[in-house]
């Protein structure tokens, strides 16, 4: 089967105050067609940089090295910016976290939507307007004809996120990258937006790369989950298996950190410490200073992302050995 996104050995480095920051260190990712892959990690772990590099949208200072990048079977490793521009929007598109900054504040949302259609397909203004309104209706915006003329600031946060989703799905791309699509929203609106996103994804059979720091968001949506820590993928598995039986201590910590209603403990479960300084990462496994199961081997060399007998990929010497 053809893959929607295939990245091999992605490395991103950029300078910051005279130091070199290794944001991403050799990440391999594949998103199959029609699948939803969730990339989970704390802020600063390089997950956004990974997603931006997949679209070749990384900041100009960042140096990106990769062995191969395929989008929908097309090898785009050496594509120029202009060649990429033709793909963005039509084959691969993106939903950003903060809709207010992603939308142009001085343009009506209708105009911004028309632009996508007019860029990628040769259609008249009138037809573009018709299709924009149809797309707005599809994401559940009431009075789409009226909202077409509204400016972004006139809509509520949830509405703006809906507009972004409509824009991402506009040209029926094969892959969509959603970078923390619900982080800026309230819980009830978050539920609405997640429902909409998974409905649209199933209807159109779009592949989705969902980026988030909250494992609870992922649970209902993802087919597979990849957990990232300090620039490296530490665990990758089908969603259900990973959540039922996390092998890496970091995944375990992330799951425990989600506050639950049925939990009767007096304190919140926390992962001690914080993410290492990206310019000064510890020797050995990057997670060992925070890891409750760290052994001497962990302090010496970085473990490899290995596959165990059950076909689970995990980067840990002690994987599966520790118990509750």
């Amino acid at each position: 089967m053809q893959n929607a996104i295939e990245v091999k050995n992605l490395k991103v480095v950029f300078p910051d105050r005279g130091r070199m920051i290794r944001a991403v260190e050799g990440v391999d990712l594949t998103v199959k067609k029609g699948e939803c892959l969730a990339l989970v990690g704390e802020s600063g772990c390089g997950k956004s940089m990974t997603s931006l590099s997949c679209m070749k949208l990384q900041p100009s200072l960042a140096a990106v090295r990769l062995d191969q990048l395929c989008i929908c079977g097309e090898d785009v490793t050496d594509y120029t910016d202009r060649q990429m521009q033709a793909l963005r929007g039509s084959k691969i598109s993106m939903i950003f976290q903060d809709a207010l900054t992603a939308l142009n504040p001085v343009m009506t949302i209708g105009k911004q939507m028309d632009e996508i259609y007019r860029c990628h397909e040769k259609i008249s203004k009138k037809e573009a307007k018709m299709r924009s309104i149809k797309a707005l209706k599809a994401v559940g915006i009431p009075d789409a004809e009226l909202r077409y003329h509204a400016f972004p600031h006139e809509l509520s946060g949830g509405m703006r996120q809906r507009v972004l989703i409509a824009m991402a799905f506009a040209c029926e791309p094969e892959v969509i990258i959603a970078d923390e699509p619900t982080t800026a929203l309230d819980v009830t609106i978050q539920a609405q937006i997640l429902e909409l996103l998974s409905k649209m994804q199933k209807e159109k059979q779009t592949a989705l790369l969902l980026i988030t720091h909250d494992l609870s968001v992922v649970r209902s949506m993802a087919d597979r989950i990849a957990v990232m820590y300090s620039g490296k993928i530490v665990e990758e598995a089908p969603a259900k298996e990973l959540l039922e039986n996390p092998l890496h201590p970091y995944t375990k910590g992330l799951m425990a950190a989600v506050a639950r209603l049925d939990d009767d403990k007096k304190e919140f479960v926390q992962i001690p410490g914080h993410l290492p300084d990206p310019a000064d990462k510890p020797a050995g496994c990057y997670f060992h200073p925070r890891c409750p199961y760290a052994a001497t081997a962990c302090k010496k060399a970085m473990p490899l992302l290995t596959q165990n007998e059950q076909g689970r990929k995990v980067r840990c010497y002690e994987a599966g050995k520790f118990k509750e």
Partner: protein, 337 residues
């Protein structure tokens, strides 16, 4: 009479009576009728000394405005606030005096801390403004505070912008606690942070409360966090309190449809748990000229025809548990009969 009552009731730190806050809207034409945005309407709650009082609701429901009113930042249109038994807005001076015992922890530490301040400057600023401390005392207290929140004395000379979000929030907490306030408003203290850092900050807040016996007003939209932290809580929708009372009772037996929807929106990581999510339709209704009756009726899944006109008053469904929904409370009464 009322004043005397309050003086006797020593364990109440803050009380609001029929508090309403309104903001005038910008007029489009000169002769247009002045529209009012009703941010908080008719809220009467009591916050007891030493407790953590939870205030839950979506953005735009007036929870921050309510908190600001209790801090003396938003003048109420009607109603009264009593802090330590004294009316807060009686004179200009009374607000200033009360504020000596109040502090606030903001949502986004990156924007509430000055990036050009060192940690020392940020933490000592409240003492400098209050005045009357000598240099050594300030330094000693700053060190004491910064180690109490889990940073080291070395960090005092670094700039606040050099820290990660979680550490910045720790600095903000140190800064809020340095003058030993009686009352702290925590305005969504973790919602700008990563899920993995939430637990650290919330544990720290609980730990500091044990040490200092401070009263928290904890604002949040995450009910799972509120459940562990708060002893009592109020759930707000569009400026009105819809459910109020003892936290354990509300979580054990949520009555108002909005509370139920909020509880069902809490996501879990357990892969085998079935989700019966109540997805509310539509957005929060506009608070400009809201309906006279129930403000939730346009999104409610249990709404009846006359809900928009029926008056909603907080009624007691069990001791220490009040609900403002005539449909649900009325139904309950029928069943009991």
């Amino acid at each position: 009479m009322r004043q005397e009552n309050l003086k006797n009731n020593r364990d109440i730190l803050l009380e609001t009576r029929n508090l309403s806050v309104e903001f005038p809207m910008k007029k489009k034409f000169f002769f247009e009728k002045q529209k009012m945005l009703s941010a908080v309407s008719d809220v009467s709650i009591q916050i007891r000394k030493g407790e953590t009082f939870g205030l839950v609701g979506e953005s735009g429901c007036g929870k921050s405005t309510f908190a600001n009113a209790t801090l003396g930042f938003a003048k109420p249109r009607s109603g009264e606030i009593y802090f330590n038994g004294q009316p807060l807005y009686a004179e200009k001076k009374s607000v200033q005096e009360a504020r000596l015992h109040m502090q606030k922890i903001f949502q986004d530490p990156a924007s509430s801390l000055n990036p050009r301040f060192t940690v020392r400057e940020a933490v000592c600023e409240p003492m400098r403004i209050r005045g009357g401390f000598d240099k050594n005392e300030v330094e000693r207290k700053a060190r004491e505070m910064i180690t109490a929140v889990g940073l080291t004395g070395k960090d005092l000379d670094r700039y606040t912008s050099q820290f990660s979000g979680g550490q910045q929030q720790r600095i903000a907490i140190a800064r809020a606690l340095i003058l030993n306030p009686e009352y702290i408003v925590c305005d969504e203290p973790v919602s700008a942070l990563d899920v993995s850092v939430h637990a650290q900050i919330l544990n720290l807040l609980m730990e500091m409360q044990e040490k200092t016996q401070t009263t928290y007003l904890f604002i949040s939209h995450n009910l799972a966090a509120v459940k562990k932290l708060c002893s009592r809580l109020a759930i707000m929708y569009l400026g009105k309190v819809v459910e109020y009372g003892d936290a354990a009772k509300i979580f054990a037996n949520p009555v108002h449809p909005y509370t139920k929807a909020l509880l069902s929106a809490v996501l879990t990581v357990n892969p085998n748990e079935e989700t019966k999510r109540i997805v509310l339709k539509g957005d929060v209704t506009s608070p400009i000229n809201p309906p006279s009756g129930c403000r939730f009726c346009s999104r409610c899944y249990q709404a009846q025809k006359d809900c928009a006109d029926r008056e909603c008053v907080l009624t007691e469904v069990e001791p220490e548990h009040f609900v403002a929904c005539p449909v649900v409370t009325g139904l309950k009464a029928d069943i009991e009969q």
